[in-house]
């Protein structure tokens, strides 16, 4: 297919100029054109949440967003969700709480969880379950994922130590 539409967008803080076809999704652009494979394709229908990324600070499904609509937008993927080589507080909490099993859903989970914690400092377990209800995981039964987000919240608001 001819890749004929030029777009400019910011990805993880860097300006990128790329050419895309009208049908290309943001997910395909990230994974195939920009080699940002941390964002996963689980269903390609916007159901599983594995492709969740930040677009102008809000979580979206990259598989449902056409790349051509991303002109001028600021995209942050899992690769950009942490400062330098350090894991973010949320990422580290997922590691420490044992929330990572096969790991395929985890990048999307971390983006959704980070979005929640940007809005709410002290989410209840129910708040966390609601905020993550659009992210499917088949390995963990979610218990340790909920625990991880709760741990991250407590580290961020200073109730417990261990944050980086």
């Amino acid at each position: 297919m001819s890749a004929d539409i030029p777009i400019k967008l910011s990805v993880n803080g860097e300006d990128r100029n790329i050419f895309v076809t009208p049908t290309r999704t943001l997910l395909e652009t990230l994974r195939e054109d920009l080699d940002l494979t941390g964002t996963k394709c689980g269903c390609n229908q916007g159901v599983c949440g594995s492709c969740t990324v930040f677009c102008d600070g809000l979580p979206i499904r990259a598989c449902l967003a056409l790349a051509v609509t991303m002109r001028g937008r600021e995209i942050v993927t899992i690769e950009g969700a942490h400062p330098g080589d350090m894991l973010s507080v949320v990422q580290q909490a997922f590691v420490d709480a044992g929330a990572v099993q096969c790991g395929f859903c985890i990048p999307g989970m971390i983006v959704s969880a980070t979005a929640l914690l940007q809005e709410t400092q002290t989410p209840s377990d129910h708040d966390i379950r609601e905020a993550l209800s659009g992210n499917l995981c088949r390995c963990t039964g979610y218990a340790k994922i909920v625990a991880a987000v709760s741990l991250a919240a407590r580290r961020l608001n200073g109730t417990v130590g261990g944050a980086t």
């Binding site: 297919m1 076809t21 049908t23 994974r31 080699d35 940002l36 494979t37 941390g38 964002t39 996963k40 394709c41 689980g42 269903c43 390609n44 229908q45 159901v47 599983c48 594995s50 993927t77 899992i78 690769e79 969700a81 942490h82 894991l87 990422q91 580290q92 997922f94 590691v95 420490d96 044992g98 990572v100 099993q101 096969c102 790991g103 395929f104 859903c105 985890i106 990048p107 971390i110 377990d125 129910h126 966390i128 379950r129 609601e130 993550l132 209800s133 659009g134 992210n135 499917l136 995981c137 088949r138 390995c139 963990t140 039964g141 979610y142 218990a143 340790k144 994922i145 909920v146």
Partner: protein, 776 residues
């Protein structure tokens, strides 16, 4: 670091940070120079003969590099129990989606367009989409050549029935007359989709001397190697299989996914080819849990002593055998349940139909058997007016008992597991109170289920090498599909050599680099790998001691291992030698590099015909080490809508010894969730051979809000005597009891017994309406 510190510690997984950072690469994330993209054309018919192909238009499309059909590939078959599959359909198609042709192109869009240009002429045949249709008199054969296919078991077959099997012990028919009460009914279970979050993917590359390398999402690099080798007629050594990170499997990736398609395309075009299935295609063409229909009959004395049980099982195997005959053997092996029932007779038939193949799925066969058995046990308890846990305890298998056919049971801790969940859930108080305490339209009650499974299975091996700097490298063919075995293996190796975990590195599964392991199945990896890690580490330690004895000029018996990779003369720790010093000596001066290896095949012993008669089954000689558990669920039934919610759950399991507590809890929580989906919502539905819900829109798996807000994993540790680290497997057991426990709670809450999974709102509501229309 002492052994105690390493074993049982809740260490984060070795690769957790890489996964959380998005840096861990799965198969679909890989890119090779010159790589093409493959796509697969599926059959539009459930059963048809292929008359002809026309691929000229597809081949002519710019960007298309190869088009292959069943006519272009080696006319060879492969399969785990029966060699009935080919890389692409040869001669006929047997279900909607059966791979007919494949294309390799420069990108996925061109590959998809090329598929639309392939023309296949079919002659349709009658489709048989239920076992009953396939077993009907005069039903056309789905596999005409079945009798001639190679098989790995003592096969008894008839028409479309691929396997007839029977296991019996005692004399059930004679025992019925001694029973005061007999219950009999039919229990039905559905096709469940594995729904691993990573759809199947493979990359194949043929090198300049014709050697094939396959990177793929798989539960066994050795099964991948074997299937590609058999399908293409290549010697084993000409096929190399590698597993990058795998995004879940649950049995669905035990046998091949798209490796064969990638392999035939790579051979056809001489370039690397990547094939990644879309979710819809993964659901339509991979595999499901076997749908089963189980007629079960159980008889007992008035005091609750169970005397006899018979069962007749029909399972839908779908279009290809995969592991179906083995799955049926497992069903029959577990239909007695973890109870002392002296007289049993179980018959099973697995039938080919024109649908998606059924195959291994977390607790294969056992989940179906247990739904029937544990449901019926509560029905029996109700009729006998005995508490369900008391009835289970009265008949529970005890220490020293033998399983059907004579297997040693090991630590028989069912009673302990039942007692733990009884106490933790406040069962005795709540059972007496719950069903009376209702709020508007809602009733709430507890339900229970016993669980038993095995965790030792087939064979495995490991190589442990002491590297020049005194750290160790562990090579095993065991694939960590997300369940955490890499970390458990590293922990066991670190414990055996008293090394910090950071000094142990695992070699990724690669048939060129790692020794044989049959696969990540049957809750076996931690148990089996523990056996060979202990052997290999012991050999490494022996060699280290030999060097140390030389250097210290003392006897080997006087050397002791110290924590942190050091050895010394006993009691003289201040003059210790490091592993690095010993290893450098071995590498460059004396003896050669230090390598330990372990090989192990589990031997449960031959079936004792005096204890049980088995016919038409897979051998159970290399399967054993029994794992016990029990679950209680607190369930609320909304009698207005039929909706069932699990509010709280307790899941107790004897794991022998928890190598990594956090990982064990994760297995219990995750398996419970999958059991909850099986119990309440998941079902693949076909309409005349067409799967009608192949997407996550229409096939729902549990999300965060479906899980009980309160969940209690209860870890019991009775060290397994046959194991060097005392461990048992825990990957599958917690999935097994969820469905019957919920069905039992629903009956306790609302007085309706539902014998068909899943227990959807619609099904529960119908049962409630029937109940109320019968009420006086």
């Amino acid at each position: 670091m002492s052994e105690a510190m390493t074993l049982g510690t809740s260490l984060p997984r070795l690769e957790a940070a890489a996964k959380a950072a998005g840096a861990a690469r799965y198969t679909a994330d890989m890119e090779l120079p010159g790589m093409l993209h493959g796509a697969v054309l599926g059959s539009p018919h459930a059963h048809a003969r292929i008359a002809s192909y026309d691929v000229s238009a597809a081949r002519a499309l710019p960007g298309v590099k190869a088009v292959v059909t069943g006519a272009d590939i080696p006319q060879r078959r492969f399969g785990l129990t029966v060699a009935d599959e080919s890389a692409l359909a040869i001669g006929k198609v047997r279900y909607i989606g059966d791979p007919v042709a494949a294309v390799a192109a420069v990108d996925t869009e061109i590959a998809a367009r090329a598929l639309e240009l392939i023309k296949v002429a079919y002659e349709e045949l009658p489709a048989m989409v239920t076992p009953e249709q396939a077993m009907a008199d005069g039903a056309p054969l789905i596999h005409e050549g079945y009798a001639g296919y190679p098989k790995i078991f003592d096969c008894i077959s008839s028409g479309n029935i691929m396997s007839l099997a029977r296991i019996s012990a005692g004399d059930a028919e004679a025992a019925w007359s001694q029973c005061d009460l007999i219950v009999e009914d039919v229990y039905e279970t559905q096709a469940q989709y594995h729904a691993y979050m990573e759809p199947v993917a493979a990359i194949a590359e043929v090198d300049a001397v014709g050697r094939m390398t396959i990177w793929s999402t798989t539960q066994s690099v050795f099964r991948t190697q074997a299937c590609v080798s058999e399908a293409l007629g290549l010697p084993r050594g000409k096929v190399r299989a590698i597993s990058p990170y795998v995004g879940g499997g649950f049995g669905g990736k035990s046998e091949p996914g798209v490796q064969l398609v990638a392999a035939v395309l790579a051979r056809a075009c001489g370039r690397p080819v990547k094939v990644v299935l879309r979710r819809e295609d993964d659901i339509m063409t991979m595999r499901s849990r076997h749908p089963a229909k189980i007629r079960l009959k159980t008889g007992a004395r008035r005091d609750g002593t169970i005397l006899a049980r018979t069962g007749d099982v029909i399972m839908d195997g779908g279009a290809y055998a995969d592991d179906s005959p083995a799955a049926m053997t497992i069903v029959l092996h577990f239909l007695r349940g973890p109870y002392r029932i002296p007289n049993v007779a179980f018959d099973g038939r697995v039938v080919y139909t024109n649908k998606l193949r059924a195959g291994a799925f977390r607790a294969v066969g056992n989940a179906q058997a247990t739904f029937a058995c544990e449901s019926q046990l509560d029905e029996l308890a109700a009729r006998l007016s005995i508490d369900p846990i008391d009835l289970r305890l009265k008949n529970a298998i005890q220490q020293g008992d033998r399983w059907l056919g004579g297997h040693a049971v090991g630590s028989a801790s069912l009673a302990e597991c039942l007692t733990k969940v009884r106490v933790a859930s406040d069962w005795d108080t709540r059972r007496a109170a719950d069903q009376k305490a209702t709020t508007t339209g809602k009733r709430r009650a507890l339900g229970v289920s016993s669980i038993v499974y095995t965790c030792a299975y087939l064979s495995t091996s490991a190589v442990v090498r002491l590297l020049e700097d005194g750290t160790v490298s562990v090579a095993t063919g065991a694939v960590d599909i997300g369940q955490g075995s890499d970390t458990a293996i590293a922990q066991m190796c670190a414990a055996a050599l008293q090394l910090p975990i950071a000094s142990v590195t695992l070699v990724r599964p690669d048939t060129d680099a790692t020794p044989y392991n049959s696969g990540t199945n049957a809750s076996r990896v931690t148990y089996m790998l523990g056996q060979v890690i202990a052997q290999a580490a012991d050999q490494v330690r022996t060699q280290i001691f030999r060097h140390a004895a030389d250097l210290f000029e003392c006897a080997e018996e006087d050397i002791e291992l110290l924590p942190g990779g050091r050895v010394a003369i006993k009691g003289v720790s201040e003059r210790a030698l490091t592993f690095a010093e010993i290893s450098r000596r071995a590498h460059f001066q004396v003896g050669g590099p230090i390598i330990g290896q372990g090989s192990y095949v589990f031997d449960a012993g031959k079936n004792d015909p005096k204890l049980a008669i088995a016919k038409g089954t897979i051998s159970l000689e290399h399967i054993g080490t029994y794992v016990f558990g029990a679950q209680v669920v607190d369930v609320e039934v909304d009698e207005i809508t039929g909706k069932v919610e699990v509010l709280e759950a307790w899941s107790a399991h004897d794991v022998g010894r928890a190598v990594n507590r956090q990982a064990v809890e994760g297995q219990i929580e995750g398996a419970f969730a999958q059991g909850l989906g099986y119990a309440l919502m998941e079902e693949l539905v076909w309409d005349d051979g067409q799967l009608i819900n192949p997407s996550f829109m229409d096939y729902k798996i549990p999300g965060t809000l479906d899980m009980p807000p309160k969940f209690h994993p209860i870890i019991i540790e009775n060290p397994e005597p046959t194991h060097p680290f005392g461990v048992k497997g825990i990957g599958e057991p917690p999935v097994i009891g969820v469905a019957p426990a919920i069905a039992n709670a629903i009956e306790q809450a609302s007085g309706v017994r539902i014998r068909r999974l899943p227990l959807t709102g619609e099904r529960v509501l119908r049962a409630l309406v029937t109940r109320d229309s019968r009420a006086p």
